[in-house]
Amino acid sequence: MNNEYMKNVVVRFCGDSGDGMQLTGNMFSSLSAILGNEISTLPDFPAEIRAPQGTLGGVSGFQVNLGQGVYTPGDKADVIVAMNAAALKVCVQNGLFHEHAVIIVDTDTFTKPDLEKAQYTTDNPFTELNIPETVQIVPVALTTMTKESLKDSGLDNKSVLKSRNMFALGVVCWLFDRPIDKAIHFLEQKFAKKPQLVPTNVKVLTDGFNYGQNLALSVSQIRLEANGDSLEGHGNYTSIAGNKATAWGLIAAAQKCGKQLFLGSYPITPATDIMHELAARKDMGVVVVQAEDEIAGVCTAIGASFAGDLACTSTSGPGLSLKSEAIGLAVMAELPLVVIDVQRGGPSTGLPTKTEQTDLLQALYGRNGECPVVVLAASTSANCFRFAYEACKIALENMTPVILLTDTYLANGTALWRIPKLAELPAITPQTAPDSLKGHFNPALRDERGVRYWAFPGMEGFEHRNIGLERDAEKGTISTNPDNHEKMVRARQAKVAQVANQIPDLCVQCNAGSDTLLVGWGSTEGHLHAAADELGCALAHFNYIYPLPKNTEAVLKQYKRVIVCELNSGQFALYLRSQFEGLHFEQYNEIKGQPFAVERIVNYVKG
């Protein structure tokens, strides 16, 4: 690497799953965000909480791309911090580095037993891994120096070793010329609830930073270019993880329309952080029920919706399967409900900590009967906020369940988020029954859009019986009449279809005039954007899955070559084919549990 200013740099922290790599990576990313860098992060950790120490299976990684024009966490790292021999091996074998990368290794963790645990067959790991000479290996005795730093702290050996990540963070802060006082301030914030941990961590961090200056002869500091104007505009920015952004979108929506926010949920990776965040937000008046199972999660939410709340449930693919029948109930009862599916690798338990876009068809069709729901997909960690908010707005205004798809990559990744004020967010007008219906309300009454009215317990003169059975289109009571059933099926279908009138047109990104169009949906937007830029082609990226934007067909028809790129075996392509006869869709699919690599998309499209 040279000493010039760089546009963006990819850093990868990797070590044992007990080495605190996620914390270190998150702190460095957040620090960079506060200093004004755009960020995109990719935590990559095993499902086991603590896999056997020093083994290949226990390697936990955290990658961040920082700078400007950042769309993805980056295919390959420019800087790698490898806390042990196993981490180095995983990084190198997976080709996760650039040819001019700087790799900082803890030389204290390359002893013979360490090498054996990481399944090296020789005594020279660097030669064995065949690391190109262009890569600069920076050996640092991280463990020794952390011990030295804390020798007077009184901490036991185990606690001392746990602080190695702070020494590494200090070195990286020096490498990127981050002001150490900001880093210390951030550390104090991070450990606000455990102040006893602050002094030792600050000491190790500072020592790591100062040690970095010793490296100045062998390594150049990296300076990032000042930020351009690729952000959303003026305002206040912070870094936010997708799950937190999702939770906050729900909070904002509830406050905007004056509803109580209710979440019924059951712990499931990678969605649980949404419940964690909302359970901590009692200051915002959020009611959270950690239910006895996934079904109870959605059913308590349906109960809260029946009682007049903004009701939500959060889950991942297996949980969405369990909730299917109850989502059908919300469809039949025509109650507002927000279902958040943070997709992970499937089927069954699958790859709980890895990312995938394989729940699309389940979200669209995975219920008994004719059972349409609105389906949305967030496409960045930051816009999880916007789409959680929109999911609430659509649900409350159209008396329908809305499934919001995110995934592991968005949920755990962080990005720069422009903090909105509540006043600037679009109004939300729940479909509450007007006073004029008092005394003769029934749950089949609809407005001119075909959306039924919402009345809930506590409203005098609106008492009624809601049902999961088919209801009479006029009276709202149980009906098994054949013609009525067909009428009601069509009414529910039309109600969801008319949501298309409320969503924005599909907007072509990148090089709209090209004859090649990449098509994507959900979390792949960043990668596809970067690929389209590089290829000089156009990108149509979908956040509104059902209903689709009205101009979808018109857009798709303009291009000779339309390539639908997905992290599944072609679910969106199948869906598009079912919607638009006669159009040809080429497919590019990966199902590896990992986000796309821009390079692979580019290579595919180039042929």
Partner: protein, 327 residues
């Protein structure tokens, strides 16, 4: 309030002679005596004959899906503790498919009034054995008799750390109404096992106690603070001998006085287990009624406490607490 104010305009479609008719009427009368106006009441049910009940009542009603009435009702009550919430369920709905929700609404002590219509059969699916059908019971799905051991609902309620359990019989309207009123007064999950006859698929299942001739000898109506005395002539009493309940003459000094408010549930266990199997009268009335904090109240209180102690109450105040930079 009058019972008629709690009737809906729907024609009641239980089979002629079904015990559910009596429970429906008892509930309308109990609601009238309790006096909460219909718009402040929600009646939630799952699937089954019993779950048709909300359609015949004037309050807000929600006939949901099989087994999930307890979870939906828990959501209604937790989100809106100011509402009075009734749950209508059956032996299959809440002890088979909805078993998990049933034990957890009890464990959490959600302030719900739950009527469990126990006819020991699946009626709406036309006659399969249920989790309360006796072992050996012959039904369409057990043509050679079941090989399963049944639940005793009261045991399940106590095992889930229930705070209220009552048992009543379709043909005994005064006791049914009394149990419903006491269930409403009790703050927490109040479970009423309503023994009902299925005239079509399991006729006479409770005849051992339902028959007029033998009812007084085969059942005992427990009342808190009163001696446990039963029999046509009120000549028999219940007493403890070792770990067992025995029948003694009514004037025996050992006759037990019913204490529904006793936290220790050992005796309540013995009482719910009484029946023909052990030669003892079936216990009716309120068997257990103890005070514990309710889940819904605890959830509301925690939110109120945290809100009172925190500075940020709005979204804008919340985002102001973030580490951020301006550009």
């Amino acid at each position: 309030m009058e019972a008629s104010q709690y009737k809906s305009d729907q024609y009641v479609r239980f089979c002629p002679g079904c015990g559910d008719h009596a429970i429906c009427m008892a509930l309308q009368k109990a609601m009238a005596q309790i006096g909460i106006p219909p718009h402040q009441i929600a009646v939630i049910s799952g699937i089954g004959c019993s779950s048709r009940m909300p359609h015949y009542l004037s309050p807000y009603g929600f006939n949901t899906i099989h087994g999930r009435g307890g979870a939906v009702a828990s959501g209604v009550k937790t989100s809106h503790p100011e509402l009075t919430v009734w749950q209508m369920s059956g032996d299959g709905d809440c002890m088979a498919i909805g078993g998990n929700h049933f034990i957890h609404e009890i464990r959490r002590n959600v302030d719900l009034n739950v009527c469990v219509f126990n006819n020991r059969i699946y009626g709406l699916t036309k006659g399969q054995y249920s989790p309360t059908s006796p072992k050996g019971f012959v039904s369409k799905s057990s043509p050679f008799g079941t090989v399963e051991r049944p639940f005793i609902p009261g045991e399940l309620v106590l095992g889930a750390r229930g705070t209220f359990f009552a048992r009543t019989l379709d043909v005994d309207m005064p006791t049914t109404i009394d149990c419903m009123i006491k269930a409403h007064q009790h703050k927490g999950a109040s479970i009423i096992e309503c023994l009902v006859n299925c005239v079509i698929f399991n006729n006479g299942t409770h005849s051992w106690i339902a028959d007029r001739e033998t009812r007084a000898e085969h059942s005992i109506i427990l009342k808190h603070g009163e001696k446990m005395i039963f029999g046509k002539e009120n000549d028999k009493g219940l007493a403890m001998e070792g770990f067992n309940i025995i029948i003694v003459p009514a004037d025996d000094p050992r006759v037990l006085v019913h204490d529904a408010h006793c936290q220790d549930d050992i005796l309540h266990h013995k009482l719910v287990q009484m029946g023909p199997e052990n030669g003892l009268p079936v216990a009716l009335g309120v068997i257990r009624d103890v005070e514990e904090e309710t889940y819904d109240a605890a959830v509301s209180k925690q939110i109120a406490d945290v809100r009172a102690a925190s500075k940020a109450h709005t979204f804008d105040e919340l985002t102001a607490t973030l580490e951020q930079f301006e550009r």
